[in-house]
Symmetry: C5
Subunit: 287 residues, 5 copies
């Protein structure tokens, strides 16, 4: 893990697993972004502390960067095609592949709350056990997902995100990757399947202005992790202003760093480098 940490004790990682998760659509709007070599060079030039990719790309493209940009081998995935009511992210490679290639860490997506969590949790436990065996850090994508989550406020509400992040702590994650939560749907406070604590909390949060709400929701995510370092995702591409505000919220919350993909490689290269450099400075200054 040490090789993925900046002198300031923070990190900034470039994720590039979206061509599995979202199919080939992401060649728009920056067609260069479909080229793994372009991504690897962006990670190198941009001074990223790691690139998160699947095995095929690691083997063919990242090996050219070995020793220059740490590898975060993402070992499970799921495509956008089949129904998503009971998602399970399955092996695309294994911890042992990462060990053999010299990866700095393993990435695993946990779909918290999915009807198939009975398969997910033991799979994650197996991955964690293998990581323990090899002294390999484990970064858990803590993602609420599936029809049961959708019936209780959705994958992006504070209730779901905080619970998923806590679960990653319970399962033994070294680092947790999370999204910034947003407000729950209008019927949340009368949804009897949601705990009263979170219904009341949501009402309180909704009383805040948009920025204060974002700050509070983000801070609560870091607290839910109970000391396990949290990386925030960037999600869909947003404006420079919004992304910068998100960074500020996350830094104030005490995050460990960022893992921004589409918000980087969907921008023009110069813009991506400039923004990335700015966020790295903000990270360094935050400590």
């Amino acid at each position: 893990m040490a090789q993925m940490v900046r002198p300031s004790g923070t990190t900034m990682i470039l994720p590039y697993d979206q061509f599995i998760e979202h199919d080939n659509r992401h060649i728009d709007p920056n067609p260069d972004a479909a080229n793994p070599d372009y991504i690897c060079n962006l990670a190198l030039e941009g001074g990223y502390n790691g690139v998160a990719i699947h095995y095929g790309l690691a083997k063919r493209y990242w090996t050219k960067l070995a020793g220059k940009v740490p590898l975060l081998l993402k070992i499970n995935g799921k495509t956008s095609f089949p129904p998503q009511k009971a998602p399970l992210s399955v092996y695309t490679s294994y911890v042992e592949d990462g060990v053999r290639m010299g990866a700095a860490a393993i990435g695993y997506t946990m779909y918290y709350g999915s009807p198939r969590q009975d398969e997910d949790l033991p799979q994650l436990a197996d991955v964690r056990k293998a990581c323990d065996k090899y002294g390999m850090p484990l970064i858990v994508w803590a993602y609420p997902r599936g029809e049961a989550v959708e019936m209780k406020g959705g994958k992006d509400c504070s209730y779901a995100v905080e619970s998923a992040v806590r679960m990653a702590t319970e399962m033994g994650a070294t680092v947790i990757k999370a999204n910034i939560p947003v407000s729950a749907p209008g019927d949340f406070s009368t949804n009897e399947s949601v705990p009263s604590y979170y219904r009341k909390l949501e009402d309180e949060l909704m009383g805040l202005d948009a920025k204060a709400q974002k700050w509070e929701r983000t801070k609560r995510v870091v607290q839910a992790a109970q000391g396990i370092p949290v990386l925030f995702s960037g999600g869909d591409q947003v404006s420079d202003e919004e992304l910068t505000e998100n960074v500020e919220a996350c830094l104030d919350a005490g995050c460990f760093g960022f893992i921004f993909g589409r918000n980087m490689w969907k921008r023009k290269k110069d813009d991506a480098l400039a923004l990335g450099s700015k966020f790295q400075q903000m990270l360094d200054n935050s400590k």
Copy 2:
């Protein structure tokens, strides 16, 4: 197991697996309780004979207490999100993890009567076999659950709890964790899917006053275990008076000890310490 037993031959354990079972809602009403360090210190200060937690917390927080508070590693779990008609509690870690960490015992949740018991029983048999191999005590959460149980009086009636406890004895539990049963629903005595013995018993128990009924139901649980020591859970937070009455009923029934979580860490720390101390004295005096 010896390290988890008080000189009086009893035990009092602090369970803290609820942030998996019930999601992150339990930060209310005592937000400190969301902090595993707080819990570990509560266990230490409170003189608990063990803390029951999952692997992630054991690895990051309990290790600071190693040698001071015995670890009961809970190795399976389930979240509150997906449907609960056919529950199965799956691995979050393994017996071997407990052995490696120096755990004093392994905790396992068996969902007696669940439509997925065909997966649960062999899983428990595997855990028991591994515990036998390593000389590791196995504490079984004997919990009736699932739609079939709900159709026959529910998870908390004497019929279900006694049967679950007996099953844990049959499966080879070292210690059994159970809840104090309550009365069955009104239609129980005419429910043809329930054995006549238990329908008749329920009618008799319903003829007793509330306290006598509690005493009798609790005593029967200990009898159902046929000599295997029984720990009683506290369940949802109740008043000091009710909790103390429950303790008296369990002691009269001849229980081995208590495993009270929410009733401790949801209280203010001083209150929790005072109550815990009181119950430990009662335990010691009962022998």
Copy 3:
């Protein structure tokens, strides 16, 4: 196996797996029968040639009897709670546990005709293979069960029982445990899903008086086993007269012995000892 055989070449075994199969209801009418120590002593005093129990009871109670009453370790089970349309009896322990404990034989329940027989048969083949490896006798409970069986005459008709017994022979059982068949439902002879041979047979058997019919059905079960020794179960508790008649029918049919549980431990101890002694003499005299 030799240790489970009487000098007359017969055997009488006390089964006590009913607290798994039928839940805790069997504490009525003889509450002592819920106590495994009581059962073990009954087996010892009664001169039984084996006691059939699950691992938990074997480990905690039978060990006191080791060397005095042979252990028949029952290694699979199923509870009474979930739906029974497609039953599968799953591992509660393993052949290796029996080897380690010094069991004289392994007991396995095969649910012949169940929609889940695709899981049952390979599981039984695995058990048989392990028994072969260790030179361990395998006693197969040959039980027709499940919705497909119910549609073709039910679990207790001669067609189902004979077919199940034959299957146990084909699978490599050392000894087969079966029930005495009874007559099929009224619509059996017009049930097109039943082979014509058995429809005709049933018509013929129904032409006999009750006793002759029992004798013939029982004899056919032993014939269906084709030389593999057959143990007959007692099933639900019946009167002394009926049980004695059943014993006579089974002895005339050439059975290997009896495995009577509820008909023993549900009786008063003295009655059970007297009846058991009588049946052992009948067994010895039959050879």
Copy 4:
């Protein structure tokens, strides 16, 4: 395999797995046929080149014949009770059992076209791999089965049988066991789910007289195997005349031999011996 081949390069095998496949009904009309010893003696006296049985019978009965009649150990099976829409024939024993017992070959039933072929094919691949490892011949029962087959002409039409036989060749069978096809249902030629080639073929075959059709269908089965030797089954019991005609058709088609069970052991012993002897002479004369 050599021990199962007649000097003329042909073979005649006695199969006796029907008491699993069809339950105990086959004790009619020749009750002796239910006796595995009777079958073993029939195989010995009749000069059969092998007897195809499951493990239980092999262990208890065939061992008396070891060195006299080669053993074809049938290692998978299925009963007649559960629904047959998506059949899968599962392990009743293993290749290693056959190796240990000195079997001359392994028998495996492949249900071509079954909705569960996703389990069947890897299971067959595993068996084939184990057979390769031990140098053990593998005889594949190439049987079209299941609801998808029924929708495309049924399990006995040329389209299904030829495709199944070809599949067995593709999977690596040493020898293939098949049935003589019969004509497809009336709506076959307008069934859009059937390939046009086979619809046209069926129309052509239907234009032939009954005998020519049988000759052509049988010849095509041998051709579909592409050089892998084919054994023809006898199926249900038929008259001496029909069975003899079938034998002639198969011999003209260039089959490797026969595997006739019910058509032998359902006949009176003398008749079976006489017919068997006649067919063996026809086999020897055919080369």
Copy 5:
């Protein structure tokens, strides 16, 4: 892999797995094509750089060609009979079989987008890991399939094919086999479940004339593979002119080679040899 590459750095492979995938129908119109020896000789005479077959054919027929035509062992398959809504191509043999036989490469079919991709991806990851272990090249048939794909433009549209090809790159394919895409159905541009990028792209492609569209779609497939060599399939038999045009499009797109089966072995042998020779020259001249 080197043994499968022409001096010009290209390849031309003869696939013959269609008698599994499409049943025995392919004996029409060239019955010789049903004969694996005919195919092997066609591969040898035609100067093919490999023949792609399943284990049974490899073991019985290809071994005669060993050292003359490289073997591409296809290790998974699926028949045409069961429903195809959630296809999974399962093992018919294993990587280790290929290693033992001296195969030059392993072939694996990935059904991108199938509801059973949760089983497919780990299976492919296992195959890839075994190939890595043995230094064995892995050729992935990148095939979109299943009901979810059909709802989003179908298995042959550019969106599906490009996404599947990219997935094969992500999974670590050595070489990717793909089909030339065709236009999506009419409702594609208003299908909300399709990403806007591909809806817009399809509109643009539909504005081109037929040939330009084929050129562009083919070129995009090679680009989607991001440098991993692409082999194009021939699919159903088409005219000499159409096949030649397809070859030109693929060569202009920068493909690695061709894997033409039905378009070769369904033609008369001389025609197949002439066409194959022509395409090999075109391949050699393209570099």
